[in-house]
Symmetry: C2
């Protein structure tokens, strides 16, 4: 079996690249992450208000997702010592650096829909 194009060894660079892509996907995957980031893109917001704007999400999911985003440095969490505690969430400057990805996905998704429907 002469030249079968198999047994290809991916360079470390390729592996690293694939891993980076996967990391990004993992962070954004799931039903809610992007909805939450998108909503926070309009400005800081309180937990309850977020829950009302991200239609359909339950409090369990919302707090879990926000925690992940906070751990990853995309979201800042601020607790206010008000009568019933209030917690405000906002995108960090770093959180805004995902914007290009989101934009590319929005652009491509729009074109894709047009292409699929046209058939």
């Amino acid at each position: 079996m002469p030249n079968k194009n198999e047994g290809v060894i991916l360079s470390d660079g390729c592996r690293r690249r694939l891993q980076s892509i996967q990391d990004t996907m993992d962070l954004l995957a799931g039903k809610w992450k992007i909805r939450i980031i998108g909503t926070l893109g309009f400005g800081p917001n309180y937990f309850m208000s977020l829950q009302r704007q991200v239609e359909g999400i339950g409090s369990k999911m919302l707090s879990k997702e926000l925690q992940e985003l906070e751990v990853n440095g995309l979201v800042k969490r601020m607790v206010y010592d008000t009568k019933p505690v209030t917690v405000k969430y906002e995108l960090t400057p770093y959180g805004n650096t995902i914007a290009p990805i989101i934009d590319e996905m929005a652009k491509w998704g729009e074109i894709h829909r047009a292409k699929i429907l046209q058939e």
Copy 2:
């Protein structure tokens, strides 16, 4: 309750945008899609060869994912009438239009890893 920033009505444009983003995510989500697209990015490839290069994937998953990518026009499937049938897959020109998204994700993922590790 004067100005509570709630009851915000998202414009149709916003909804469309969120939907486009979600469509793109849905298409790329899961454990294998990006690995497959990434591998096909190196050039056309046969089923078995693909399965060997995308480490860990089973034939069920591979054929299922390839079907989805084909339906969405990202991948072209060509059957050759050889002794044991061989099927070659390749990225369509349209499939290559996702490159910018993948690139953005690779870039961001790399920066992100650096940022997380540095702490």
